[in-house]
């Protein structure tokens, strides 16, 4: 177990990066605490797998350094770093039995056979593969194969960290829940440092205590699921997390009020003076109140998705989404109001603090 520090890490796949565009990873400066469970969340191509491979040593960063417990490991090989990693698609050794597959990482490191046997049996139990230990790994189903891959990651108890690269992509939905909760249990029991890459917000929010949101090669926000929801630091986090995502609309700010078309919206505080750039107001659909008073909207569509309804409406010529309770009625002459607690102001996509 180790604390992992990424110090100003940048990475470009091309040999001569010139502009920021050439970097798959622009600059990551972040510490993964010892024993923490982190999710790296972001859309495809945002650099999360790059960051993961840099931590495991499959890639060496173009710039910056990587520390494990304060020790510089930037130039060490994967093996010397002692890291476990599970990949998106199951990797199994076809010609070996399930048992030998799990024993492989241990035997490669010269672990004595009695210890190998004990560790492998534990892992077989943990992953529920005990009854097929003697079978050849070939011809198993995709989720059994992925369990073997997971098992090979978990079998070494002395690893500095376990990295998961979208490991549940190929798994059936019901198995996803089972495996994910098993991983959480393992984390609680053994306190591994875990980094879990995913583009699925549900997966990230249920797995991790700390979610690291990445966008275009940068970390845009690190926080608990609640923080990401209430106070998205970047409009991307607002869009990406939540269903539907945050409503973002361009506004003009004057003191404690924002103007959008003919409407004026009261802000919870005055954004600090002198903000420049494109100013936007962000509010999650959960904080948009639909009722008989407020600003007029025209409703385009109501989606009933079970526990609540999503109302899609037009507000000052812009699309806006609001969430109303399952039993609430949609008024004939709909108006909306914004709950001040849910209002965020963004300048050039980054959140601006508001004074009281």
């Amino acid at each position: 177990m180790a604390r992992i520090d990424c110090n100003h890490i940048r990475h470009a796949y091309g040999p001569h990066p010139k502009s920021d565009k050439d970097y798959a990873l622009k600059e990551v400066h972040h510490a993964f605490e010892d024993g923490g469970a982190y999710a790296l969340l972001g859309p495809s191509g945002c650099g999360k797998t790059t960051l993961l491979n840099i931590i495991s040593g499959l890639l060496y960063p173009s710039h910056g350094e990587l520390l494990f417990d304060g020790k510089d490991v930037t130039n060490l090989s994967t093996q010397e770093r002692n890291i476990a990693q599970v990949f998106q698609f199951p990797v199994i050794y076809d010609t070996m039995t399930v048992y030998d597959n799990l024993a492989f990482p241990l035997r490669n490191r010269g672990v004595p056979e009695p210890d190998v046997d004990r560790k492998v049996r534990e892992t077989l139990e943990m992953t529920g593969l005990a009854d097929m230990a003697k079978r050849k790994a070939r011809g198993l189903t995709a989720d059994q194969k992925q369990k073997i891959s997971l098992g090979r990651g978990l079998v070494r108890s002395d690893v500095n960290a376990i990295l998961f690269d979208e490991p549940l992509t190929v798994i059936d939905p019901h198995m996803k829940w089972v495996l994910r909760s098993q991983l959480k249990q393992l984390h609680r029991r053994f306190g591994f440092t875990m980094v879990y890459v995913t583009h699925d917000q549900t997966e990230a929010l249920t797995f991790a205590e700390n979610v690291v949101v990445m966008y275009e090669g940068e970390i845009v926000q690190i926080g608990s699921p609640a923080e990401l929801f209430e106070r998205p630091k970047h409009t991307f986090v607002g869009y990406f997390i939540g269903s539907p995502g945050m409503n973002v609309m361009p506004v003009a700010v004057e003191g404690r009020s924002a103007r959008l078309g003919s409407q004026t919206i009261e802000l919870p505080g005055a954004p600090k003076a002198g903000i420049t750039g494109a100013i936007e107001l962000g509010i999650r659909p959960e904080y948009v109140r639909l009722g008989a008073s407020g600003m007029p909207v025209s409703i385009r569509k109501v989606e009933d998705i079970g526990r609540h309804k999503v109302v899609r409406a037009s507000f000052e010529g812009r699309d806006i989404a609001a969430i109303v309770g399952e039993d609430e009625d949609i008024p004939a002459d709909p108006k909306i109001a914004f709950d001040p607690a849910g209002i965020n102001i963004y300048a050039d996509s980054w959140r601006v603090e508001m004074g009281g």
Binding site: Q79, V91, Y93, T95, R152
Partner: protein, 288 residues
């Protein structure tokens, strides 16, 4: 729904039937015809039953060329398959050199077989050929036209030069189809270079290697042009393989009955070994 039966449709396959008949069935039946009859010219034929077959199977000459054939094919497989895999492993997986390597590898395969024979004949001549001259200059007596060992060495080397590329290209195709994740996982698991080969690359290449070995078996078992041009089967009968012996019997000595019987035995043997080989390779896969 009722199926529509249209017997006129059979005419559609007629061209194919005619084609197959002319290029496979009719020549084959001619051979069968010869193998059971005796002819003294003037288109007179007498039925002889299995006499030619008995004669061929009991002939020491056939045994000798069969033994030479198996020795040659065995050597070829032993050298070309491991060498081909080794070369494929050493080739780059990406970058500008891939194209260069692939073109270089394909070159020997593009040269007509008799040209290969002629090339090596001149190349290996002890007085004016580069290879022959260099070997003799090193103090080793080498002359493929008079020494059986030299002749064998040259014939095998020529085949290795000509056909290892095929194994390389097939093995390479198998190698590049392995996803990167396998190599990454192996690194994470701390696998040695040998383990990566043994547990990842070799199993993933197994299918293409089966094909490569099958092709190399069949081709080398039927080899004719190159050794014929290079040594003509000599010195003596030292490099007279089955096909060369067959042509000698048929066209040199005009023993049509013997030659026809030999052709059929030869054909059945190639078929049998190929089938055995393929069955064994695919069976072990089904078990695994």
């Amino acid at each position: 729904m009722d199926k529509t039966w249209n017997n006129k449709a059979w005419f559609m396959v007629l061209p194919v039937l005619v084609l197959v008949a002319f290029n496979a069935i009719i020549p084959l039946m001619t051979v069968v015809n010869y193998s059971v009859q005796e002819t003294f010219g003037n288109n007179l034929f007498f039925f002889e039953g299995v006499k030619w077959f008995q004669e061929v199977l009991n002939s020491p000459r056939f045994h000798a060329s069969l033994l030479r054939q198996f020795a040659f094919t065995g050597l070829i497989l032993l050298i070309e398959v491991p060498l081909g895999v080794a070369v494929a492993l050493a080739m780059p997986r990406s970058g500008p050199w891939v194209a260069v390597c692939l073109v270089l590898m394909s070159l020997p395969l593009l040269i007509p077989w008799n040209v290969v024979g002629a090339m090596w004949n001149i190349f290996a001549l002890p007085d004016i050929g580069l290879l022959g001259y260099v070997i003799n200059a090193m103090g080793i007596s080498y002359n493929f036209t008079s020494q059986p060992l030299s002749a064998w060495f040259t014939v095998v080397l020529m085949d290795v030069w000509h056909w290892t590329s095929l194994v390389v290209l097939l093995a390479y195709a198998g190698l590049v189809s392995i996803p990167d994740a396998y190599y990454q996982a192996a690194k994470i698991d701390g696998a040695s270079r040998w383990s990566v080969f043994r547990f990842i690359q070799l199993p993933k290449m197994k299918r293409v290697l089966t094909i490569a070995m099958l092709l190399r078996f069949m081709d080398s078992f039927m080899v004719y042009t190159e050794p014929f041009v290079l040594t003509g089967g000599g010195p003596g009968n030292a490099t007279t393989f089955l096909s060369i012996d067959l042509v000698k019997a048929a066209l040199g000595e005009f023993n049509l009955g013997i030659a026809a019987a030999m052709s059929i035995i030869y054909f059945l043997m190639t078929l049998l070994v190929s089938w055995l080989f393929y069955t064994l390779m695919t069976q072990s896969e089904a078990e695994g």
